[in-house]
């Protein structure tokens, strides 16, 4: 109340109004707090990238040992750098790391059965070993093996992610094959043909499909879709756990996603374009497919890509219906574990934090994160790049 005028008996005096900008502590604190809440999302992203990255590095730095069945021909003491090995077992490579009991050695040269090696390698303790102990070879997940190996069993030194990736792609591919035609057709019908009343009833009805928890879909896949497929195609063709059933049900899950977003894109196309096409003698169908759909292309493409990203990240349906255990197969009626299914199965039990299993779920998770993020960014790009702007 600084700008109140005060009057005395004969003179008017005005109190000075300070018009300079003043710091408002309360406002600043509140604004700071609000900013922090917004900024928290950046922390979450960094948290995801940091944790996935850190544990994945541990995964790729992980050392496992597997026996070569190559025995020591004679006992050695803790100093000896040249020694003799037996003839059985797999051949020893030069310039490679091996392990005898708890000691790691670096083999320099191999001449027949004569080996020279550096002892006590990699900070291990050089010790005496008795005759007949076998050499163990090093298994380390390399990037090349990770992307090209066709077997995934980290406990046994098999680090190829292809079986998991392949299953993920097949399941998502089936889901897309189900969801895109159905979703797009639904969107065209709702946007171009349906009356307002029908649309107001049908749209929420379809959206219920997106609100059903995925674990319930998993139950549905296992107890309805799989028996249906088996009765149609035969029990010997379709496994109890199979990718097709999971894929079809994921397709149903993402159907409303495709149809709602596509319908929004189609509805955003201005009436004038439809009227122009109709006045040139095009039928309603031709208008819809040749004019409206191409005009809404960017929105539809974004919807499909986002749906694909959801299908890749979908977990419970595949964990329940598509089977446990990695399996490198292209047959959709076989059981195969996807990346998400693998993470759930491995982490479902009690596992120790420094095991290869624990690290492996982060490596798989990082792969999953990169794939979905790339798809999401790609879809945003498409929207920005190809959007047609109408008045």
């Amino acid at each position: 109340m600084t700008n109140q005028t005060q009057s005395s008996e004969n003179t008017f005096s005005f109190r000075q109004i300070d018009l300079r900008r003043r710091g408002r502590t309360r406002e600043t604190i509140i604004q700071g707090f609000l900013f922090l809440c917004g900024f928290l999302s950046i922390f979450v992203t960094f948290g995801i990238i940091y944790e996935l990255g850190k544990e994945s590095l541990l995964f790729f730095g992980n050392q496992q040992w597997s026996s070569t069945n190559k025995p020591l021909a004679a006992a050695i003491d803790d100093q000896q750098t040249a020694f003799e090995i037996g003839t059985q077992g797999t051949a020893i490579q030069e310039e490679a790391v091996y392990r005898i009991e708890n000691e790691v050695i670096f083999v320099e040269t191999v001449a027949g059965t004569q080996v020279t090696a550096q002892r006590g390698y990699q900070e291990s303790l050089a010790a005496a070993h008795r005759e007949g102990l076998t050499l163990e070879t090093e298994l380390r997940p390399g990037l090349q093996e990770f992307f090209t190996g066709t077997e995934w069993a980290p406990q046994n030194g098999k680090f190829g992610i292809l079986p998991l990736l392949n299953a993920t792609l097949i399941v998502s591919g089936i889901a897309i094959l189900v969801a895109v035609p159905l979703g797009l057709a639904t969107a065209i019908y709702l946007s171009e043909y349906a009356s307002n009343r029908a649309r107001n009833v049908l749209k929420p009805l379809l959206e219920i499909l997106a609100g059903v928890p995925t674990v319930v879909y998993g139950f549905f896949a296992l107890t309805f879709m799989t028996p249906l497929l088996r009765s149609m195609l035969g029990n010997d063709v379709v496994n109890i756990y199979n990718m097709a059933s999971a894929g079809i049900v994921i397709g149903i899950l993402i159907l409303p996603f495709v149809s709602t977003v596509s319908e929004d894109a189609l509805s955003a196309v201005p009436r004038s374009l439809r009227e122009a096409a109709l006045s040139l003698g095009a039928t309603k169908f031709e208008t819809a497919v040749r004019v409206v759909v191409p005009a809404a292309f960017s929105g539809i493409a974004a919807a499909v890509i986002l749906a694909a990203s959801r299908a890749i990240g979908e977990t419970m349906i595949v964990a329940i219906a598509s089977g446990a255990g990695p399996n490198f197969t292209f047959n959709p009626f076989q059981a195969a574990e996807t990346m998400t299914g693998h993470i759930v199965r491995i982490s479902g039990g009690d596992m120790s934090y420094n095991s290869i299993d624990y690290n492996s779920i982060f490596a798989v998770g990082l792969m999953l994160f990169i794939m979905t993020l790339a798809l999401n960014i790609f879809s945003q790009r498409i929207v920005r790049r190809f959007r047609e702007i109408y008045e």
Binding site: G38, S41, L209, P213, R310
Partner: protein, 416 residues
């Protein structure tokens, strides 16, 4: 001559026109069928769950409850002392010693003793169960199967979802297993998720909508939130496992607060699960709240500023009250997504078999969807029945929440 040719062309094009219209009609039918498939699947999904939630079962009791009746008084009405007697006589010494070490049997209340007798003495076993459609249409065949395969068994019509099912604890016998522990676990985790994500999410939305100038960092925040909304939920589970369960295990296990036994406790607790779900729904809460705040017309803000209110005063007394119904609706939708989430909780470590009700934020837990998952992956048929029954409960719960959200929106939404 030339007119004739023109005429023929005209006729041809009329045929073409008919063909084009036919094509249009065929495609329209295809579009309608696509829509119908979507609606049909929804119906089939619901029917499958209902179909599995009810039906006949062949139940075989180890001991007939009628044999346990004392002097014609049925088991349910026996006094506590008689129940102690029955329990002592009918279970092995080892099992009795275990119960005794947990809590002296003679001091336990009658209901608890009755439950123990149900589980360990009568020990009913579902030999086979049939779904609703089969139960209604093939009663004769079912009776024949029971007579030949399980002569000891009794045919009972089960409504797997019932009040006892909601009220009882988890059990290894499907016909007496219930979802109380799971529901309580869900309530606890969701409460923590809401407690964390609602204030933070709404504050972030206010910042982005009313405070943030259009500069690089704010654009990054906005893009980042949109991207986070598309990250698969299982990734949040992995994040929660690494951060809440492992890194902050000292706090989330309750050891730091003296709430848990340091030798056995670990971070796989309600508070870890709740915080993980909170982070999971945070982007959704922010985006929904932003939409609601965006819908408040600028004139209201300008009126506030015009009267000399500060930005926060304007937001607090004008923008927020007007955006509140929208914010609440969006938040309820986000929360209903959190309720159905399963994968991150499995990764965090929702326990497979837990019979003790969660007593606080540092308890072990299971949630309703996690429970459905555990039952679904079991091979025995009767577990599928209770998985369906639990799904039915979950769906009803979600439907109620969504209906509330829609009612809120319709009741309080204003158009400017």
């Amino acid at each position: 001559m030339s007119t004739l040719r023109k005429r023929r062309e005209f006729i041809e094009s009329e045929q073409q026109l008919a063909a084009r219209h036919t094509k249009g009609k065929i495609w329209l039918a295809a579009f309608q069928i696509a829509l119908l498939v979507g609606v049909l699947v929804l119906v089939v999904l619901l029917l499958t769950i209902i179909n599995t939630s009810f039906g006949y079962s062949a139940v075989e009791n180890e001991v007939d409850p009628e044999n346990l009746a004392v002097n014609g008084v049925p088991l349910e009405e026996l006094p506590q002392e008689a129940l102690v007697e029955i329990l002592t006589q009918n279970i092995s010494a080892g099992l009795f010693a275990r119960f005794e070490s947990e809590q002296p049997v003679a001091e336990r209340p009658a209901e608890e003793l009755y439950d123990l007798i149900q589980e360990h003495v009568i020990s009913p076993q579902v030999k086979e169960s049939w779904n609703l459609v089969d139960s209604l249409t093939r009663r004769g065949e079912i009776l024949a199967v029971i007579e030949t395969k399980y002569p000891e068994a009794e045919l009972k019509f089960f409504s797997w979802v019932n009040w006892d099912f909601v009220r009882s604890q988890q059990s290894s016998h499907p016909e007496i297993a219930g979802i109380r522990t799971a529901i309580l676990g869900s309530v606890w985790t969701i409460a923590i998720a809401i407690f964390f994500s609602l204030p933070v999410g709404i504050a972030a939305a206010i910042y982005l909508q009313d405070y943030a100038p259009d500069n690089f960092i704010n654009r990054v925040i906005q893009t980042n939130i949109n991207n986070l909304a598309g990250v698969p939920s299982i990734i949040y589970g992995i994040l929660g496992l690494a951060i809440f369960v492992r890194a902050f295990g000292f706090f989330t296990s309750g050891i730091a607060f003296g709430a848990a036994d340091p030798s056995t406790a670990n971070g796989r607790t309600i508070v870890s699960a709740g915080l993980t779900l909170g982070i999971l729904v945070l982007p959704l809460v922010i985006i929904n709240a932003q939409e609601a705040i965006k819908a408040v017309p600028n004139s209201l803000r300008e009126a506030g500023f015009g009267l000399g209110a500060t930005r926060w005063q304007t937001v607090w007394s004008h923008v927020l009250p007007n955006a509140l119904p929208g914010v609440l609706t969006g938040s309820i939708l986000a929360v209903s997504r959190a309720i159905g989430e399963t994968a991150p909780l499995i990764v965090i470590g929702a326990s497979t078999f837990i019979q003790v009700d969660p007593g606080g934020p540092f308890s072990k837990f299971t949630t309703l969807p996690a429970q459905i998952y555990q039952w679904t992956v079991r091979p025995q048929g009767a577990f599928h029945n209770i998985a369906a029954a639990a799904s039915l409960v979950l769906l009803v719960l979600l439907l109620a929440l969504n209906a509330t959200a829609i009612l809120l929106r319709n009741r309080y939404s204003r158009r400017y």
